[in-house]
Amino acid sequence: MIIGTRKPLEEIQEMVKKYDRILLAGCDTCVAECASGGRREVAELAAALKMAFRLAGAEKDIQEASVDRQCVHEFLLDLVEAGQDRDAILSLACGAGVQALAHHLPETPVFPALDTQFIGETAGRGLWLENCRGCGNCMLGLTGGICPISRCAKSLLNGPCGGARAGLCEINLAREIVPEVPCAWLQIYDRLSALGELDRLLELSPPKDWSHGDAAGPRRVVRPDQQA
């Protein structure tokens, strides 16, 4: 899922300060799961903004709304309707949701309340880990289901660098990271060893074709069988 984090309140306030009627638009899927943009967080931010603006001497008309998926046209329509009489919209979706909303409301300013971070996994309560870069050419089948592109700090394709210490990636030496970042290639080795498939490591991966990733401009997937 997409992981996002709320922007600092001051930054959000600055973006919308010149508007009086504001819609806060949440998304109840990915960013709700990571507790940054679902209907609860919409309610938190609405109350926080009302208070912050009052302290600055302004009374704002702030409405709240949320849909299951802000990045899907059919779900988005409720927000488009709710946004019709608003001066501005503050979206708590990921960047895809913000843009979908902006596309459907060409005459209304739409602002992001979140910083979209990465595609990740809920690894524990309050802990989300990046484990997919969307490289467009998945190699998890070769690496025991552990992605070296996202989980190795250097995105190495054929084994570890020389920096790992005690099973940990050397980036832990540069700054304190809690929990510590393990060496992805050690994890791959351990996993393949447990599966009895260490021979996979004898296959060298060729240089990656990054043209499947974000190096060749905006990507698109077209499925004629799904189209109207």
Binding site: P8, L9, E10, R40, E41, A43, E44, A47, A48, K50, M51, A52, R54, L55, A56, G57, A58, E59
Partner: protein
């Protein structure tokens, strides 16, 4: 205080079986008070705390049981985390985080109850009306 201070208490009903435990003394002290009984203090969400402070309260107190006797096992633990998160939000807003208080109150413990009531009255006296709540006079608009 020129305006009556409003205190909202959101309390676990195991810790506070009778709202009068708070209502009586707080009203007697000249405060306007409302007690919301909860099945557990962990049921109080961050957005409810912020909404309450934005809508009606000058002070908000969340009352739970001590962590080791919480009926929902980790309810009081979660309440502590949520109150801390809401206080962080208040700092960002520019409002005193002391307007949001919490206590772990063993049911029937008169000593901690009295100390809590005294703490609430002291903070009401020190902080006064919440300038960020609805109905409070607006600060002079900034450019």
């Amino acid at each position: 205080m020129s305006q009556k201070v409003t205190v909202v208490v959101m309390a676990c009903q195991q810790a506070v079986p009778d709202p009068a435990l708070f209502l009586g003394p707080l009203e007697k002290a000249g405060l306007r008070a409302r007690v919301v009984l909860e099945p557990c203090s962990s049921k109080v969400e961050v957005f409810q705390m912020l909404r309450t402070l934005a809508g009606e309260a000058d002070l908000l107190w969340v009352v739970g049981c001590p962590e080791q006797v919480c009926l929902l096992v980790e309810g009081s633990f979660r309440m502590t985390k949520r109150v801390a998160h809401a206080q962080d939000y208040l700092r960002e807003i520019g409002l005193e985080p002391e307007r949001l208080g919490m206590v772990q109150l063993p049911a029937g413990n008169q000593e901690i109850l009295a100390a809590t009531l005294s703490d609430i009255q002291d903070r009401a006296q020190a902080l006064g009306v919440n300038p960020a709540r609805a109905g409070a006079p607006l600060a002079k608009e900034q450019p």
